[in-house]
Symmetry: C2
């Protein structure tokens, strides 16, 4: 969903420097150094027909998902979301209650995380859009994308590919006629749940070398960690965690669950790396909290992202990543 | 331009409290208390055909104005703008250079103020839009809308109404056939200049009881200061500062410059109040910096906004404020 080229282009043009800006463009959040503790800032736009179709979402669900996407970015750095700023655009014919319901969806969702709505505006627009900026606190450090090194193990916090399958089900059937075992997949797409506790635990473990949230799909997102870390990755397609519902749906549609897990976006699980010599300590730490995590591959010194399916290993190309779905 | 009803509606629904959020919804910026100094945060959306038409603006001018609007909000609280986050939406047929030029317009403008671009994204949209969040520092305090008291004098930092006249000229003539004396008015609309030094001086003077920037027009904006301060206002229409070009244009179009000054938005001058007993001290302070300011009226204990034209005083109504242009 995210388009990185322009923002990277512009990054090279920035001439103003700021010693308190520890991390600018290039990670889930910017990091600003404050004497009382660092602040994390993320911003994301959520636009009708680009990111969601109104026929699949109630206005409160639109608001909740827009909030979730931003909350997930703070969680991916191990932070605590605090202050939310919201701009909403709604067509004139919808004004009044529609914008109000989106805002209530945002507010209800954000308050679950203890977030305060601190500012924003509503305007008239042609299509519905929501642009959210979220400020969080980074107590005791933060996780970046840039720390992965060759030999580090790649992990994810949960099952992959369900949201992409959910979207495909909606595109084929609409909201009606969805079978029981497909409801789980659709729900993953409509109502993602950011991994707040996971982000905090990964940070507390002091074993994690890099982390980001999975918004665009495993292959696309691991390529960003590789880019920021100056490394490559090998993904083990056959061991990726997937739900039984996804496996059943994939088989019926003539593909495999692994294809959804590799290329499907919007799962909002966390993708992270742990140095080989800390894996044991990390596993013990996570077991102490009764929290599961799953292998996905290994960081390599050789640049590029490779996928191992059975005995065959194939290099991923950018055009393939972007055009798969 | 700003639509306040929904955001005020939602304000009453917020249940999460945060002791570090000194000012939430209801002013030019939110204020977050930090041990190293307070932070100011503002966010605004700038949407095609709602806030600008592409036929009047180059993409770099669109970017510069979107940046200016946000910078003005930080200036209105006496702050120093620091970190900018930008979401840009552009139709698919325009992607590539159009979004890039908007971004360069934002960057060039923001860097004049020492602002760092710290994050953001570009997405596909039906209409061009820009949503900016700007974080500033409030060293040595900040100015709020809520401090005006009965008897305080109302001032503005510069000539009013030019931007609204500039918009009207563009709407009637397009970019072509604009006469020399009208260029000044059009430029005020296309390229507003936030009053950064003024905001800092107003804060330093320690004489200013309330302040905001003029985005929606004098009558509309003073009514917000009154609402936040629990007071009313009397505006002296005949003494409002206007440019000779505006006076000439207004006469030719069968109205007065004062009408533009009262109801025309987007001047981005500062509107502020000074208690009666501090006016002398304030004038001396400002004279020391060689900086002018202009009388606009007086704060009253009687609620509502009144306008004095010659010997006649008339109460403003909300429908009149919103529908004048």
């Amino acid at each position: 969903m995210k388009e990185f080229k322009l923002i990277y282009d512009i990054k090279s043009r920035i001439t103003v420097k700021d010693e308190n800006l520890i991390q600018g463009i290039g990670d889930d959040c910017a990091v600003i150094k404050e004497s009382g503790g660092n602040l994390l800032i993320t911003t994301d736009a959520f636009y009708e027909n680009t990111h969601f179709k109104r026929k699949y979402f109630t206005p409160m669900q639109i608001g909740a998902k827009a909030a979730a996407i931003n909350i997930s970015d703070i969680c991916a750095m191990g932070g605590i979301p605090r202050y939310m700023f919201v701009n909403i655009g709604v067509p004139k014919k919808d004004s009044g209650n529609y914008a109000g319901l989106i805002m209530r969806g945002i507010l209800a969702y954000a308050e679950n995380y203890g977030i305060v709505l601190a500012g924003g505006d509503t305007i008239k627009s042609d299509k519905v859009f929501i642009s959210i900026t979220l400020i969080g606190r980074a107590d005791g450090g933060f996780l970046l994308r840039s720390g992965a090194r060759a030999g580090d193990r790649i992990f994810v916090t949960g099952r992959l590919g369900s949201a992409a399958a959910g979207l495909r089900i909606l595109e084929k059937k609409g909201n009606k006629k969805i079978k029981d075992n497909e409801t789980e997949l659709v729900k993953k797409f409509i109502s993602p749940q950011p991994k707040f506790e996971y982000g905090r635990l990964l940070l507390m473990s002091k074993c994690v070398s890099s982390c980001m949230d999975l918004s665009d799909g495993l292959i696309s997102d691991i390529s960003r960690i590789c880019e920021e870390s100056g490394a490559g990755a090998l993904i083990y397609s056959d061991i990726l965690p997937v739900s039984p519902s996804l496996a059943a749906y994939a088989a019926k549609t003539g593909t495999t669950a692994a294809e959804y897990a590799l290329y499907g976006g919007e799962d909002y699980e966390l993708l992270f790396t742990v140095p080989e010599n800390k894996v044991k300590k990390f596993a013990k730490f996570m077991a102490g909290y009764g929290v599961a995590f799953f292998q996905a591959g290994i960081i390599t010194s050789k640049k590029g992202v490779y996928v191992k399916r059975g005995s065959k290993t194939v290099k991923e190309t950018y055009s393939k990543i972007w055009n798969h779905f």
